[in-house]
């Protein structure tokens, strides 16, 4: 009857969103008077999961699962949920989690609530609050099936330490050839660069930067902050930056702690996509830019003058706070 949480990892290390999901699972388990079981696929050190409240860890170690495969992973998590007789299953909102979630929901015959931002308002009936209309509103939805699947929004619940001792158990789900009917042929991934999905800080540039040749400024600022780089839709449409950097309603969502927008006017579609970020800084030479209304901090000024100064001051700050 425990709450099951799927904990994602990369290169043998649990991701922050996995620890956030465990923190949340612990909150749900406390409401239901039960405990948290984590399932980890070729994952990291299970004591780390114990720090956030997982009292049991089902560890799957399988070379066939070295690369993410939605169907096979969904099958493994389904079997873990069945073994634990879990009535609530928690996953993150990563691209991989959203890929496997609908498969998992059908296999478990579970009601699925994606983009959930808080602990259930009640557990009978089971009501959760989710982001809808691309962060322009919330919906409170009742999950009516016996098993519930919850996709937790990034950065919404946060990390909450709650140390328990985690008992580790190895778990070998039975997988069939049909689980691998979509095969990974090759992966082309930038290494050593912070991705928008994982970033705590995102630095984003718009048309105000005048051309792709000026992106050194964005990259340097991102470098100082350990941030990911992103861009507005027109910038990606004009081919100044790759589509993968486009953030907004039809691009990637951003839910970072800090979002710095440089030379972006703040069209409603852009604001919707980045609105889940906690703190927004806007630098724009047009005092009338709509983005200022959505910002926490604003500077009206020429990006080519303001940003180099900001880089310099941040370098000083980092040197003094190292």
């Amino acid at each position: 009857m425990s709450v099951l949480v799927y904990t994602e990892s990369e290169q043998g290390k649990f991701k922050k969103i996995a620890l956030e999901a465990v923190s949340y699972a612990k909150g749900v388990a406390d409401m239901l008077g039960t405990t948290v079981t984590a399932v980890s696929i070729n994952g990291g050190d299970s004591t780390e999961l114990g720090n956030y409240g997982a009292s049991k860890v089902l560890q799957v170690t399988n070379d066939k699962l070295a690369q993410f495969n939605a169907k096979a992973y969904a099958d493994a998590i389904t079997q873990a949920a069945q073994k634990e007789n879990a009535k609530v299953v928690i996953i993150s909102s990563s691209a991989n989690a959203k890929f496997l979630a609908p498969l998992l929901a059908v296999q478990l015959n579970a009601a699925y609530a994606p983009n959930v931002v808080a602990l259930p308002e009640s557990t009978t009936p089971f009501v959760v609050k989710s982001n809808v209309f691309t962060n322009k509103a919330f919906a409170k939805a009742e999950l009516k099936s016996e098993i519930k699947l919850i996709g937790l929004s990034k950065n919404a619940y946060g990390l909450r330490e709650n140390a328990v001792s985690a008992a580790t158990e190895s778990f070998s789900p039975s997988l069939s050839d049909a689980d691998f009917s979509v095969k990974v042929e090759s992966v082309d991934k930038v290494t050593g660069k912070v991705t928008i999905a994982d970033a705590e800080i995102v630095v984003s540039g718009g048309r105000g930067l005048k051309g792709p040749e000026n992106w050194g400024l964005i990259e340097e600022l991102a470098g100082v902050l350990g941030a990911a780089t992103a861009c507005s839709k027109p910038v990606s449409d004009m081919g100044w930056r790759p589509h993968s950097e486009h953030v907004g309603q039809t691009g990637k969502p951003v839910a970072s702690n800090l979002y710095i927008a440089i030379g972006i006017s703040g069209a409603i579609q852009h604001l919707a996509g980045i609105n889940a970020s906690k703190v927004k800084v806007v630098i724009n030479n047009d005092a009338e830019a709509p983005f200022f209304k959505a910002a926490d901090y604003g500077i009206v000024g020429d990006a080519f003058e303001v940003v180099p100064k900001l880089i310099e001051k941040l370098k000083e700050f980092k040197a003094n706070n190292a």
Binding site: A70, K71, S94, A95, N96, K98, F99, A101, P102, L103, A105, V106, A111, Y112, P114, V127, N131, V132, F133, K136, A137, F138, A139, K140, A141, E142, K144, S145, S181, V182, K183, V184, E185, V187, D188, K189, V190, K193, I196, A197, I201, H243, S244, T250, G251, L258, Q269, V279, F292, A295, Y297, G298, G301, D302, E305, V306, L310, K313, F317, N321
Partner: protein, 248 residues
């Protein structure tokens, strides 16, 4: 090849979102509806398959009669036939169940849906449909080629892309990249005239039970005022981000 493109009828991206009946219903008053952007990239890719590989392209929507202009637009862009399942799209599972019946009966080889609709952002219909019909599934699809029974798809992943191989029947959750923004088609007069003659079949729903039910909506709390900083004093911003916002 027989292709079904799932079309969500959604508020235009610039719409102001409001609710009515004590915040229990989306207020469509004054809202312009469009083809869901992620679906439109898929529809355009389907047109490519039609023109280059001779595929038949059908479009489908689950919704009331008010969604027909959106289906007609898809026909004007070039789809051959439209199907409307005559019921409110209560939740993702319910919609996937309705679509699964049509897919099974229609013998479609490829189903192209958007990775998510921009209204409820559920992102669950394509995957659930694949699971319900036993088809292969690729989400966040940014490139798709089909050769006979084999398909090659590229999926966007965090920080890069992944090339996948699989077989039909296949469901994809598509997005921008599947075609470029500049490839999107605006229906011309001829297309609009022809669309009037094309079949739009109305099918009654299957008796599936939704798994979820939205009881209420809520708008985000209004934001505090922006704090403006003198461009000659950016150090102030660094201090505020560190001491006040505590994000650096």
């Amino acid at each position: 090849m027989k292709i079904l493109v799932c079309i969500s009828h959604v508020p235009d991206t610039t719409s102001k979102i409001n609710f009515k009946n004590s915040d229990t219903q989306f207020d469509t008053n004054g809202v312009q509806f469009v083809i869901n952007p992620n679906d439109e990239f898929g529809l355009t890719r389907a047109m490519w398959f039609k023109e280059k590989q001779g595929a038949a392209v059908h479009v489908i929507n689950v919704g009331g009669p008010e969604t027909e202009p959106t289906l007609r637009k898809a026909l004007a862009i070039g789809a051959d036939e439209a199907i409307r399942i005559n019921t409110a799209p209560v939740d993702g599972f319910f919609v996937a169940k309705q679509l699964a019946k049509v897919v099974a009966e229609g013998g479609y080889d490829l189903v192209i849906a958007g990775r998510e609709s921009i209204d409820y952002n559920g992102g669950m219909v394509p995957g659930m449909l694949a699971a319900l019909t036993g088809a292969n599934f690729v989400n966040n699809c940014i490139s798709l080629e089909v050769d006979g029974n084999n398909a090659k798809a590229v999926r966007e992943i965090d920080g890069g892309r992944e090339t996948l191989s699989t077989t039909l029947p296949l469901v994809i959750g598509g997005q921008k990249g599947l075609v470029e923004e500049s490839d999107l088609r605006i229906p011309n007069m001829r297309g609009i005239m022809m669309a009037r003659q094309k079949p739009l079949k109305v099918v009654e729903p299957d008796g599936a039970t939704p798994a979820t039910q939205i009881n209420a909506f809520e708008k985000p709390a209004p934001k505090g005022a922006v704090k403006m900083i003198d461009p000659e004093n950016v150090e102030e911003l660094v201090n505020l981000l560190h001491n006040e916002a505590k994000v650096i």
